[in-house]
Symmetry: C2
Subunit: 455 residues, 2 copies
C-alpha cells in the first residue's frame, strides 16, 4: 500500500472538482515513478493517461487500488479488485458507517467482498496516503502541495483526513520532514495497530504520531503499542475525551471513543507519549525525530535574556526535569567566556552582548560534562541578521556530536523564518516559547524512562 | 512619559553599537513628532541632530529624559534632570540592584536624587517604552522595527525587556496591534500598579498584558489590580513560580517573586486573568482586544472538518464552557444550507463541500439566537485560494454585528499567511489550533463572570 509499483485509480474523472480527478492529479504531480491506470466505464483519456473500463481490462499487475466511486458501487468494485489479484485498496469514498445503518450495511458488504478476494482495505471515508520517499501522493487533498513532498522521519497517522492534511501542509511550510501521512477513516479493516506494526519495521520512520478518535480493538492496541514502543516512540493525541466530544466523534468516523481514563491508563502502560493538544503532538514529534534521548533528567538552560530563562526554569520543575548543579571548574571555564555581569549559574544568562559563537562554546563545555543530560537553549531577538545567523550555526550538529538532546526556544519574527527552516532541516527543533521547548524535552525523557524500565 | 513633547537622550553616542546610539536611532526612525535633544559632554552632532553638553544647556523645556549612561553616573544625571524640571526619566542603564550590594547602593542614591527633584523613574535596567499611536520608540531594542510601529489596543507591560521586545516584534509580523510596550526593569520607582492605573484611563488601551516576575508592593498591587480589572481586563503571565525559577528571577531583575500560591490567590481575587505560558498571554490578549464578552457559557462550534470539531468540543468541556443545545427550528434553517451528510448538531460540520459563504450565513442564524453566547469557528485547509478568501470574508464583522464573540481556529499554511494578517487586522482573532481558540474564549468568559459578580 505504501510502496506500490502500480496503481489503479478507480473512478477517475475528467471533471476537475471530482475526487477521482483530484487524486489522479495528485498522483501525477507527486511524481510517482510507477504505472498509473485510471479506471472509468466511459474509458477515453484523462490528464494524458489512457482510461480503462475496469481493473480487469488492465493488461498488467496492479499493486494498489484507490477507490473514488459512490459508496453503493464499492462492494462490487472491491470484488473485482480481488479477482484481479490486487492486495491493497484505499477507499476514499464516504457514505458508510458514519452516516447510519444503511451505510453500515454497505461497509459490511465491502469487508466481506475484500476478505473473499484477499484485498486489505484502508478506509473507507479516508483521505488516502502519502509516502514522500516514494513520491507517492494518493490523497484527495487539495491542501497539500504534491510537488513539495518532503521526505523525513516522522510518520503521521490520522483518523481525521482533512485535519491530517492541513497539519501536514502546515508542517511542510515549517521545514519539518513528514515522510508519511496515513489517513484511516472508518478503519473497516486495517487499523492503527496494523499500521504501527508496519511502521515499526519501516527504516524511514523514527517516530509515529497519531491523531486518534478511538481504537478499534483495545486489547490488540495495547499489545501492539507496547511492542512497538520498545522499538520507536509513539506520540498520540486522543480526541473525543469529553462526553460531548465522544458523541461528536461517533458521528464523524463512527469511532467508539471509550472512557478517557481507560485511554490514559493504556497509554501509560504501553509507553505511548500522550500529547494534550495539536501543538504538543508536533512539538514532540520534532524532538523525537531529531534528538537523542536524555539519559537522565539533569538539564542546563542557556539563554541570552533573563526572562525566558526563568520561564524555562519554572517549566522544567513543572514537567519533572531538574536543573543540573554546575560544578566549580565548569563554572570557571564558562566565566572566561561571558561578561562579569552575566550569570554562570544554571540558567546561564550570556546576555545579548556576547557573540552567539560563545553559546556554541558553552554547549560544548556543558554537554561534555557527565552530570548533564540535555540542554535547553533560548534565543531572544532575531536582529541583527548576522547575530541570528551566527547563533543558528553555533547550534547545528551540537546534539549529534555529544549524543545529548538540545532543543531551542526562539520567538522568531518574520525576518528570520528562513533560519528556523534551516535549523529544522539541520535537526535542531525550534519552539516558539520556552515552555514548549521544555515540554518537548520532558517528553523525550519520559520515553527514555519507559525504555529503561522495560529493557 | 508615554506622550512627551520633547525628549533628552542622555548618553547619545556616535558609535553605532552603543545603547545611546541605538535608542536615538529608534526615536528618529520611529517618526517621533516632538523635539529630540541628544546629550553628551563631548557635544558635536549625531544622526543629524545637535548634541548638548548637558540637559541644563538645552534652551527648551524637556518632558522626558532617557538615560543611557554608566550606572555610576546616573544619580548625578538624575539630579540635573530634577533641576531642569524634567518630570519623567527612563533609565536604560544596567548595573544596579540586579548585580549585588554595590549596585543596590547606586540604585538607592538614584531614587533619592529623583525624589529630591520630583522626577519619576522607569527602570533602571529596562528596555524603555513604545507608544505606537504617538510614533514613540524610546527603546534600546534592535529587534523591533521602529518604522513599523502599529497602533492597536493592547498595552504590553514587561519585566523582561529583551523578551518583551522579541514578543512585540513577533506580534508585529502577525498583524496584532500592540499600541504600547512598557519595560519595567528593576522598578525602583514606577511599578506595575502605577502603570495599571495610568493604562486604566488610557483610551487606546482595551487590554493590559503583563509578563511578570514579581510585584514590588503586594497590598498596592491587589488593590490596584482589582480596581483596574473592573474597568478593563488584565492578563498576566507570572514567571518565577518554581523555587529554582524564583532564584533565577532574583538574579535577573532583583525581583522578589514570592510564593506561587499567594499570586494565584491574588490574581483570582482581583479578577486578573492568568496566562499559564507565553502562548496563552498573547492568545488571550488578541481575544480581549477585539471581541465582545460572552454573556454566558453556551457556545456553538462550526467546522468544515470533523476531527478538529471533536478536539474543540473536548476543550470546551475541559475549560468550563458548554455546547449549546440547538433548537429544532434553528437546526431546520441550518439543514437547508448544508448537504444531507453534513451535521447540524453542535459541533456543526458543514464539510468542505459547502461554500464558505454558508458558514457566514450559519453564524448569522446562530448568533441571533438568544440561547447562544459565542461561536468557535474552525477552518481546515487554505486551498483553493478562493475558498480561503471567501471564508475569511464571511467572518469579518460578524462578532461586531451580533455583539457576541467569535474566535477562529485555522492551522494555516504559508500560502495563506496574508489572510491571517487580514483577519487579525479586521478584529477576528485567529489561532493555530482548536484548543487555543477555545481557551481564549474561556478566558473571555472568565472575565465576564468576574465583572458580573462585582457589579
Amino acid at each position: 500500500m505504501l510502496r506500490p509499483r502500480s496503481i489503479a485509480l478507480i473512478g477517475a474523472s475528467r471533471e476537475p472538482k471530482k475526487l477521482g480527478h483530484i487524486t489522479l492529479k495528485n498522483l501525477i504531480e507527486g511524481g510517482f515513478k510507477g504505472r498509473i491506470f485510471p479506471i472509468n466505464p466511459e474509458a477515453g483519456e484523462v490528464l494524458g493517461l489512457q482510461v480503462y473500463q475496469s481493473v480487469m481490462k488492465v493488461p498488467e499487475a496492479i499493486d494498489l487500488a484507490v477507490l473514488a466511486v459512490p459508496a453503493v458501487l464499492v462492494p462490487k468494485v472491491i470484488e473485482e479488485c480481488g479477482q484481479k489479484g490486487i492486495k491493497a485498496a484505499i477507499i476514499i469514498s464516504a457514505g458508510f458507517r458514519e452516516v447510519g445503518p444503511q451505510g453500515e450495511a454497505c461497509e459490511q458488504e465491502t469487508v466481506k467482498a475484500a476478505a473473499k478476494g484477499g484485498t486489505r482495505i484502508l478506509g473507507p471515508n479516508c483521505l488516502g496516503v502519502i509516502n514522500a520517499s516514494e513520491n507517492l501522493d494518493a490523497t484527495i487533498s487539495r491542501v497539500i502541495d504534491p510537488k513539495k513532498l518532503k521526505s523525513g522521519n516522522i510518520a503521521f497517522v490520522s483518523q481525521s483526513g482533512a485535519f491530517g492534511a492541513s497539519l501536514y501542509s502546515w508542517a511542510q511550510g515549517k521545514g519539518i520532514g513528514f515522510d508519511k501521512l496515513i489517513s484511516f477513516g472508518n478503519m473497516c479493516d486495517i487499523d492503527e495497530s496494523d499500521m504501527f506494526e508496519y511502521l515499526a519495521t519501516d527504516e524511514k520512520t523514527k517516530v509515529i504520531v497519531m491523531y486518534m478518535e478511538g481504537v478499534k480493538d483495545g486489547r490488540k492496541f495495547l499489545k501492539t503499542a507496547k511492542k512497538v514502543s520498545l522499538v520507536k516512540p509513539i506520540v498520540i493525541m486522543k480526541i473525543g475525551r469529553s462526553s460531548r466530544g465522544s458523541k461528536a466523534a461517533k458521528s464523524h468516523t463512527g469511532a467508539l471513543t471509550g472512557s478517557n481514563a481507560i485511554y490514559e491508563a493504556a497509554f501509560k502502560q504501553s509507553g505511548v507519549i500522550k500529547a494534550a493538544n495539536t501543538t504538543e503532538m508536533f512539538d514532540f514529534a520534532k524532538a523525537f525525530a531529531t534528538q537523542p534521548l536524555p539519559k537522565g533528567k539533569k538539564m542546563v538552560i542557556v539563554t541570552n535574556a533573563g526572562g525566558p530563562g526563568v520561564a524555562a526554569t519554572d517549566a522544567c520543575e513543572e514537567e519533572g526535569l531538574e536543573l543540573a548543579e554546575i560544578d566549580e571548574s565548569t563554572k570557571k571555564s564558562i566565566r572566561t567566556l561571558i561578561p562579569s555581569f552575566a550569570s554562570a549559574l544554571n540558567p546561564i544568562d550570556t546576555t545579548p552582548q556576547v557573540s552567539p559563537r560563545v553559546n556554541g562554546e558553552i554547549f560544548k563545555i556543558l554537554l561534555s560534562n557527565k552530570g548533564i543530560d540535555g540542554a535547553i537553549s533560548i534565543l531572544v531577538g532575531s536582529k541583527p541578521r548576522e547575530y541570528a545567523e551566527e547563533f543558528v550555526n553555533a547550534h547545528i550538529g551540537v546534539a549529534q556530536t555529544y549524543n545529548k538532546p538540545l532543543v531551542l526556544s526562539w520567538t522568531v519574527d518574520k525576518s528570520a523564518e528562513d533560519l528556523v527552516v534551516k535549523l529544522e532541516e539541520s535537526s535542531v527543533p525550534v519552539y516558539e516559547t520556552p515552555e514548549r521547548a521544555v515540554k518537548s524535552m520532558a517528553a523525550l525523557r519520559k520515553y527514555g524512562e519507559f525504555l529503561e524500565k522495560h529493557s
